[in-house]
């Protein structure tokens, strides 16, 4: 009657080019980093972490488009109209949807300047899996 035993989610953190992270005090940067490290550690210890990566900045990013025949068109940077860029992600394998939301909420509550939570919007997307056993 119950479906799959665990569920995988991609938890994505975005970054806005307007974020003045460079203006944060070193203490605030350290506090934020520690918060993230702690989440990472917890996910690792619980056997929930499948993968986690940080992405390079827009300066190192290319957009490629091709018709499969002529040379591909390569442009610098991310989509020019993008206000939020994908900064990094965790792929987790958890017991429930609620647990994925909880991880995202803790990530969103990471401290910003002066220790106040950044409340950054975190995107949680289920990863496609096998069909349910009813078939």
């Amino acid at each position: 009657m119950t479906g799959a035993t665990r569920m995988k989610y991609l938890i994505m953190m975005t970054h806005s080019p307007d974020d003045p992270v460079q203006d944060w005090s070193p203490e605030d940067v350290t506090a934020s980093w520690k918060h993230m490290q702690q989440i990472h550690q917890e996910l690792t210890e619980a056997g929930e972490l499948v993968a986690a990566e940080k992405l390079a900045g827009p300066e190192a990013t290319k957009i490629v488009a091709s018709d499969g025949v002529s040379a591909p068109v390569i442009t610098d940077g991310v989509y020019p109209e993008a206000k939020e860029l994908l900064a990094g992600f965790w792929m987790v394998d958890v017991d429930s949807h609620e647990r994925a939301i909880e991880i995202a909420a803790r990530t969103s509550a990471a401290p910003g300047p002066g220790g106040a939570p950044t409340r950054k919007p975190i995107v949680v997307r289920p990863i496609m899996d096998a069909p349910p056993p009813e078939w």
Binding site: M1, A4, T44, V50, D93, D95, M128, P131, P132, W135
Partner: protein, 415 residues
């Protein structure tokens, strides 16, 4: 000379026996389980080349016990050392675990302090004798992740001071139910994944069947154990017809029934027949009975829907599970028509909020009722909500098929 496959089968059978000897003798399940894993790995590399030792179980017990002392010696606290020295003095390599010990081990791995999801990998390793790498592959996660999950589960058992013994009679039924649920989930995990890109995971179904067979040998008088085994066999029998040549899902009504495994169906039905006249009927027996009715129908049209409807009614009363109500609605539609089925879906929206299966069933019943527009809407809603790739393809395919039919009609009607 033994082949690697022979050795692997033998090791898998011996794994829980060796572990029970160690746990019984030294008391520490978590460390003993690690030690047995290492002994199994050593045997898997040595035996195929050097031949089987004269007493394979004794060999494994000796190697695992030696490994266990290494583990304990290396523990910084060394708190176990004295106990260990005393325990080692009494060790004899010919210990033979009794049947109850292996069962107690299974009850330990499926203890209520663990979520079924933690119990699954632990059971597969400690009872099934699978390696961490094999379990990680089956669940599509890195080996490190799975290793952490298993050690977390064992840690949980340790700090909860779960005793190594058979459940008492007053907790027997509820404890057995958890064990059955864990085996059922293992089966489903493998069965669900036996299409598309994850074929390797089908091994989990076979493993669940193996464990259920062993459990039935140990508990022949528990009708639900037999019911679960029958359910697994009767479901697994349909696996060859469940997917098309490109890995696409084929619904039950459209499956090529000549590809169903008759031997498995025969075995499942025989098990069920032997057990049904006995005492209280449980939910696995009922589910197995429903599977048996499907399996016995030579064509989809010959399915005995009134009987399936009656069984779902019993199951619904027994479990109160909204997914059962959903399945019952399909059976009702097959007996009394789609309108009756659709009426039975009323009230389910609050119990299965946003669940794709509800939309999928509604779409199917609307299609039966001759409402293609409503069906398309709900097929697409379900497609958007499912997290299964194969199912999404099937649902969007259904919507496209109905749209195509409607277009053809429009074409014909325009001059």
């Amino acid at each position: 000379m033994s082949t690697g496959a022979d050795v692997e089968g033998l090791l898998r059978d011996l794994a829980p026996q060796v572990l029970t000897v160690l746990v019984r003798r030294y008391g520490d399940f978590a460390d003993a389980e690690d030690a047995v894993q290492e002994a199994l790995l050593a045997a898997a590399t040595q035996w195929p080349d050097q031949g089987l030792p004269r007493n394979p179980r004794g060999w494994l017990v000796t190697v695992a016990a030696r490994r266990l002392t290494d583990i304990w010696r290396s523990e910084a606290a060394r708190r176990h050392r004295e106990d260990l020295a005393a325990a080692l003095g009494s060790a004899t390599p010919t210990d033979v675990p009794d049947k109850d010990d292996s069962l107690a081990l299974l009850f330990l791995c499926c203890h209520p302090v663990l979520s079924p999801r933690s119990a699954i990998p632990l059971t597969l390793r400690a009872i099934g004798g699978l390696t961490t790498a094999e379990i990680a592959t089956a669940f599509l996660v890195p080996e490190d992740t799975m290793a952490k999950r298993i050690s977390r589960a064992k840690q949980h058992i340790r700090i909860s001071h779960v005793p190594f013994r058979m459940p008492s009679s007053d907790e027997w039924t509820s404890r057995l139910r958890i064990v059955l649920h864990v085996l059922y989930l293992i089966f489903n995990e493998g069965y669900a994944a036996s299409s598309g890109p994850h074929v390797a995971r089908t091994d989990l179904s076979n493993e669940a069947i193996r464990l259920a067979r062993a459990l039935r040998l140990a508990l022949p008088d528990e009708p639900e154990v037999t019911g679960l085994l029958a359910l697994m066999l009767l479901t697994d029998a349909r696996r060859p017809a469940r997917t098309g040549p490109h890995g696409e899902l084929v619904p039950l009504a459209e499956q090529d029934r000549t590809r169903w495994d008759r031997a498995l169906i025969g075995e499942g039905i025989a098990l069920l027949t032997a057990v049904l006249p006995r005492r209280a009927v449980g939910e696995y027996q009922l589910q197995a009975a429903i599977a048996a009715i499907h399996d016995e129908a030579v064509t989809a049209e010959q399915t005995d829907w009134p009987q399936i409807l009656a069984l779902y009614g019993l199951l619904e009363r027994m479990t109160g599970n909204p997914m059962v109500t959903l399945n019952r609605a399909i059976a009702l539609a097959m007996v009394d028509g789609p309108a009756a089925g659709l009426a039975a879906l009323e009230g389910l929206a609050t119990r299965l909020p946003g669940h794709h299966r509800l939309d999928a069933v509604r779409a199917h019943l609307l299609e039966m009722a001759g409402d293609p527009d409503g069906a398309i809407t709900h097929y697409l809603l379900a497609a958007g909500r499912t997290t299964s790739l194969a199912e999404r393809e099937y649902l969007t395919g259904n919507a496209a098929r109905l749209r195509g039919r409607r277009l053809m009609r429009t074409d014909r009607s325009t001059p």
